[in-house]
Amino acid sequence: MSAGLCVEGLSVEYVAKARRPEKQGRRQSALVDIGFTLSEGETLGVVGESGSGKTTLAHAILRMTPASSGRVLWDGVDLIGLDERDLRPYRRQMQLVFQDPYEAMNPRMTIGQIVSEPLRLAYAMGRRARLKQAAELLHQVGLDGTIRSRYPRQISGGQRQRVALARALATSPRLLVLDEPTSGLDVSLQARILNLLRDLQARQGLSYLFISHDLAAVSYVAHRTLVLFAGSLMEQGPTDALIRHPAHPYTAALLAAVPAYGAARAPRAAPAAPPRALDSAPPACVYYPWCDQAQARCRSEPPPMVSLDGQRLVSCHYPLSDKT
């Protein structure tokens, strides 16, 4: 088995807890049959609108949300099957940077305590060694050591994002899952954080799972990209090729919604899909009701994942050709 992350057929379902018997046990699927690989030192972008399952994917990989089926292989070991104790050494190797760094920090702890908490938990390090290490971690993300005595509410959004990053780096992980790392920041700060991420990757050989709805950010950092829609994988492939020549109509719609990529056309709203109820889902393409390329077959038969040129996978009966 290769080093890195390999996800196979990962699905997450939520079972509705309803009082009324006819609604009881109704399953809602949040993720359906997701598969991809992420090798060492690589960045994989995950794009999709809100509610498409990006955060669920991150949480399922890190075992923060139980998966209903599938495998998450880390260096060939299936993490889904491990119990909490066996999982512990792996937890250190993969860290999550939460979507909202402010929410992810205890408001009553200082930055120094926040950054050194993983050291205390993972290595049972003494207080003095911890604080010293915390200063080093903060320095790594471009922050001054004096920030250690501040509280999360006393620092700026960009600093908070860096602190979140420093904390995630504390256990020397090999994989960082970055959940919308730039969403709350203004454009110049976004660029700085993205550059910092690239620097860290170059220095430490980290792998990133980079979740974002911002295609510009993804195209800047991600080597390869996944496109999610309603919990299903629409398309994956090298980021450049995927952006230049989207093969799935949804990817094309997503790109058209970004002014910079939509060229002369006015930005068009990409469709938003409601969560699917599994029991009532017709055997069809999930995207078909919104698709402008849809044909009769799309309504009756879910499209298989097909390979376009060895590198790209697309889940569509009628992928867009390179010419259009």
Binding site: R88, L121, A170
Partner: protein
């Protein structure tokens, strides 16, 4: 939000906003300290036996020899008020501490444990709350001897449900916070999370509620003593002084109820002011 979830011990909780902010808090604490000094340093500065009977000076009005008068047996009211303050404040404090610790333990167990345990513990709590406090107290007062050592746990016993509910709700809210999930991701165990994150998140609110609880305990103990179930004569407590003075006030011995009543009133006022001030400070801080 205001964090007080418990009702009064005997009466529905009504609270008047006395003053806002740090001034009220400081005044409340100062007033409380003044009462503590009065009760403990007082007997030292005014060394008179609270139990000594001056048979010739029955029901003397406040004057030069007895600053706050004497009671029906000729005992020195000022000395009794000081000694009664010690009993009242110490028992209330211990009762609050016991109620606080028991409530925290119970509430955090419910809030952090599995959901079936939470449901079971909360239904049990509802059942306990359905029994009127006074009835419960009278029941226990009938089976254990009433002395200073027993009264504190007895009062604490009825004090903890409010704190328990508060702690449970706060724990439930805190455990789904992202920073708790982050700690779990770093390998934090259940007890670490409870101690470091959840307790820290709810401690300020709990401390504030403890001040209100203390006020409740003072009132509760005084009420109990007034009914004759508190500290037993001849030992003094503020509520007990009020009880023995009540019948005599109608024949003109006003000093027998005014001074103990004033002491109880000031103690409760002090705790409420301190609690209000702390609460205002916490809200201003923007918790969460």
């Amino acid at each position: 939000m205001t964090g007080a979830t418990h009702g009064g011990l005997f009466f529905p909780r009504r609270r008047w906003r006395v003053t806002g902010g740090a001034a009220g808090e400081r005044a409340g604490i100062a007033l409380f300290l003044a009462l503590v000094v009065f009760s403990w340093a007082g007997p030292w500065l005014y060394p008179h036996d609270p139990l000594a009977i001056h048979a010739r000076h029955i029901l003397t009005a406040p004057g030069a020899r007895f600053p706050l008068g004497t009671d029906a047996l000729g005992r020195n009211v000022l000395a009794r008020l000081m000694r009664g303050g010690q009993a009242t404040l110490a028992i209330s404090l211990w009762a609050s501490v016991i109620g606080l610790l028991a409530g925290l333990l119970y509430g955090m167990t419910a809030g952090l444990g599995p959901s079936w345990l939470d449901r079971a513990l909360m239904r049990l709590l509802d059942t306990l709350l359905a029994i009127p406090t006074l009835v419960l107290m009278i029941f226990f007062a009938a089976i254990v001897p009433l002395n200073e050592a027993n009264l504190a746990p007895l009062l604490g016993l009825v004090a903890w449900p409010g704190i328990a509910r508060l702690a449970r709700n706060e724990a439930l809210a805190a455990r789904e916070r992202d920073y708790v999930r982050a700690a779990r991701q770093f390998g934090a165990g259940r007890f670490y999370i409870a101690r470091v994150h959840i307790l820290r998140a709810m401690l300020p609110l709990v401390i504030i509620n403890a001040t209100f609880l203390m006020a409740d305990m003072i009132l509760g103990l005084s009420g109990l003593s007034f009914l004759g179930l508190g500290i037993q004569p001849p030992h003094a407590s503020w509520g007990g002084l009020l009880n023995s003075g009540a019948g005599l006030a109608v024949i003109g011995a006003w000093w027998l109820i005014v001074f103990p009543g004033l002491a109880i009133f000031l103690a409760i006022l002090a705790m409420n002011m301190a609690g209000q001030g702390l609460l205002a400070r916490l809200d201003g801080e923007g918790r969460g």
